[in-house]
């Protein structure tokens, strides 16, 4: 249910960025990944080149690969078609719900899918309402809709971090991203900082093996 307000914020921002309601809602069907939809909307609004929009989306959503890998062992009895449906709705929120639940027991397939469908319908509803209202709002600042994405990143970051090396990587990647942006690298600064940051993490880990213990 928490999806409705953030979906709403997405819808407003997508509309403000210049997307028609149809496209704002279509992104929740075609892409369906909260934070990257907000980023996508702002990149469309800024007139970013197609390649940089797609590569940014890829990098931002690459974390779902880990979620997918982490849940594989619980879903061994599922057919490929059911897994394909499940994967489509694997987001930060549904992963958090499932990974907590699956470690105790794995519910029936219908129940798992129902949880996911409910989440996406809430997101779609919020996004559609936001897109409709977004056409009527002249300024997003009084509602602090421009703070949705930063707040979401803080929360996601806190939820993801388990290791000390991850804290170091976050600080390094964040700082590199700021420096690269300041020196004018532009839209690619996030991707460069991410790739360098994750690589430094692996190097750091091999020189600091005592922190390997709590793998996800």
């Amino acid at each position: 249910m928490g999806y409705v307000p953030i979906g709403f914020a997405y819808g407003v921002l997508a509309k403000q960025a210049g997307l028609k309601t149809f496209n704002a809602v279509a992104m929740s069907v075609l892409v369906y990944a909260g934070s990257s939809q907000l980023i996508g909307a702002s990149l469309f609004g800024a007139g970013a080149p197609v390649a940089s929009i797609i590569v940014t989306t890829f990098i931002v959503n690459l974390r779902h690969m880990l979620f997918s890998a982490a849940l594989t062992r619980y879903l061994k009895g599922w057919r490929k078609r059911a897994l394909a449906v499940f994967a489509y709705e694997l987001t930060d929120e549904t992963f958090a719900v499932h990974s907590a639940q699956f470690s105790e027991w794995v519910p029936l397939k219908a129940e798992v899918i129902a949880t996911n469908v409910t989440a996406q319908l809430s997101w779609l509803l919020g996004g559609w309402l936001g897109a409709v209202v977004g056409g009527l709002i002249s300024d997003v600042k009084p509602l602090a809709l421009d703070y949705t994405l930063p707040a979401m990143f803080v929360a996601l970051l806190v939820m993801q971090i388990r290791l000390k090396t991850e804290v170091v990587v976050a600080v390094l990647a964040g700082s590199m991203s700021v420096v690269l942006t300041l020196i004018g690298v532009g839209r690619w600064s996030v991707i460069v900082a991410t790739v360098l940051g994750a690589t430094l993490g692996v190097i750091l880990e091999s020189h600091w093996p005592q922190h390997e213990a709590t793998a996800a």
């Binding site: 928490g2 953030i6 210049g18 997307l19 149809f22 496209n23 992104m27 892409v31 990944a33 990257s36 980023i39 197609v50 929009i53 797609i54 989306t57 890829f58 990098i59 959503n61 974390r63 690969m65 880990l66 979620f67 997918s68 890998a69 594989t72 897994l83 489509y88 694997l90 930060d92 929120e93 958090a96 009084p142 602090a144 703070y147 949705t148 930063p150 707040a151 979401m152 990143f153 803080v154 970051l157 806190v158 939820m159 993801q160 991850e166 990587v169 600080v171 990647a173 964040g174 991203s177 700021v178 300041l182 600064s189 996030v190 900082a193 991410t194 994750a198 993490g201 692996v202 793998a215």
Partner: protein, 108 residues
């Protein structure tokens, strides 16, 4: 005006690069079958990418470095962080952060 058809086509590409990483591990591997180096690298991607997106939005919300007291985005992040830490969930901290920023803007 943006070309809505171009947006739609771009979104299909965005959808493909989002869906494949979600699907392929479920289809092809169990978690221990991914090469260890790939797993190690992937494990640092979330922290790296989220921080790389976040930090510029906090310390340079207007496009230039600003760590002064009037930078609302930066200081509001502290309670958001604290609530995220306590609740370990996505929505309460986001809502509190937005209410806080909206409130400060209303009264200043």
């Amino acid at each position: 005006m943006i070309d809505q058809w171009a947006v739609f086509l771009t979104m299909i590409g965005m959808g493909a690069v989002t869906y494949l990483p979600r699907l392929l591990p479920l289809w092809l591997f169990s978690s221990r079958d991914l090469p260890p180096l790939v797993v190690a690298w992937l494990r640092y991607v979330p922290a790296a990418v989220l921080a790389a997106m976040l930090l510029p939005s906090l310390v340079m919300p207007e496009g230039r470095l600003d760590v002064g007291l009037e930078n609302l985005f930066l200081w509001a992040a502290i309670p958001v962080f604290a609530i995220a830490w306590r609740t370990r969930s996505l929505f309460p901290p986001v809502i509190v952060g937005m209410v806080l920023v909206a409130g400060v803007r209303l009264f200043t």
